[in-house]
Symmetry: C2
Subunit: 176 residues, 2 copies
C-alpha cells in the first residue's frame, strides 16, 4: 500500500512536471494539419524571438512570432528569400488588461497575455519544392489544444499572404 502511494505521488508529480515543461500543447501523436501535412514542431516555444504584435478587431490578441535557427539567421542577415527549412511560428494569446500593472503605473495602460485564444498557434514552413504552388511555403494552424484547423481554413492562408511578395510572402519583420 505504501509502495502504491509512492507510485501515485511519483506519477502525479511527473505529470505535473510534464504539464509545466512540455513545449507543445498537443500530445506526441498529434494530428497533422490538412493540405500541407504540417505537425506542431516540438520545442517551438524555445525558439528565438522574431517580433511581437497586437491585433485588434475580431482577433483581439497579443502575439509573439518566433523562428527556428534558419529563420533567425536569415532575418538577421536580411536575406530573402528565406532558405528551405525555415520555420516561423506565430503564438497568440487573448489580450487582457493587467490590473496589477495598472496599479503600479497609476493608470490604466497595461495589456498582457491572457489564456490561449481559439487559434493559438500557426506555422509557416519553407520548402520551395514541396510547396511550390503556394509560394514555397506550407501553412498550418492549430487550436489551443493542438488540434489542426480544417482544410477550408488552410486554403485561405496563401491567398492572404501572397501580396507580401516583396518579403517572400512573410508579413513579420525582425524587431531590431
Amino acid at each position: 500500500m505504501k509502495r502504491m502511494a509512492f507510485w501515485l505521488v511519483a506519477v502525479t508529480t511527473l505529470a505535473g512536471v510534464v504539464a509545466f515543461t512540455a513545449p507543445a500543447p498537443g500530445p506526441a501523436d498529434q494530428q497533422a494539419a490538412p493540405v500541407f501535412g504540417i505537425k506542431i514542431y516540438p520545442g517551438y516555444r524555445d525558439w528565438r524571438l522574431v517580433s511581437v504584435a497586437h491585433e485588434e478587431g475580431n482577433l483581439n490578441d497579443i502575439r509573439a512570432i518566433l523562428g527556428n535557427d534558419l529563420a533567425i539567421k536569415a532575418y538577421r542577415a536580411g536575406k530573402l528569400p528565406f532558405p528551405d527549412g525555415t520555420v516561423i511560428a506565430r503564438l497568440a494569446w487573448t489580450y487582457v488588461a493587467s490590473e496589477e500593472n495598472n496599479k503600479a503605473f497609476g493608470r490604466n495602460q497595461s495589456f498582457v497575455p491572457g489564456p490561449r485564444p481559439e487559434w493559438y498557434l500557426q506555422f509557416m514552413v519553407k520548402d520551395s519544392k514541396k510547396y511550390a504552388t503556394t509560394g514555397g511555403w506550407g501553412f498550418a494552424q492549430f487550436d489551443k489544444d493542438g488540434k489542426p484547423a480544417d482544410e477550408a481554413m488552410h486554403k485561405t492562408c496563401f491567398p492572404c499572404h501572397e501580396p507580401a511578395k516583396a518579403t517572400d510572402i512573410v508579413f513579420t519583420r525582425y524587431a531590431p
Copy 2:
C-alpha cells in the same frame, strides 16, 4: 588599386554583417548602469520568450520579456523565489500601425514594433546577497544606443516593483 577596392568592399560588407548580427546595441566596452552596476548582457536578444505586453500612455510601446536559462526554467516550474543568477530582459519598441497588415486584414487592426524608443532595454538580475536591500534584485535601464539611465532613474525601480512581493517583485507572468 584593385586590391584596395577589394578591401573596401570586404570591410564594408563585414561592417554590414556585424550591424545585422550583433545582439547587443552598445559597444563591448559599454558603461555599467549606476546603483546596481549591471552591464548589457551579451546575447540577450537570443534568450527565450517569457511574455509580451503593450503599454499605452506615455510609454506607448510594444514589448517582449525574455529570460536567461535560469529564468525560463524557474518560470516553467512555477518556482518562487527565482534563483540567484536569474536575469530577465525587457525589450520595448515604439508602437506603430502596420499598413501592410491592415491591407491584408481589410481593416485597421494591426500594430507592430517600430524603431527603438528612448528606453529600449531593461534588466532585472537576481542576486539575493548583492542586492539584499532591493528585494534580491538589481535593476538596469539602457537607452536605444545602449547608454545607461542615471542614478535617480535607477532608484525608482525597486519602489515600483516592491508591491509585487507575491511574485518575487516580478510583474511579468509566463505566457502559456
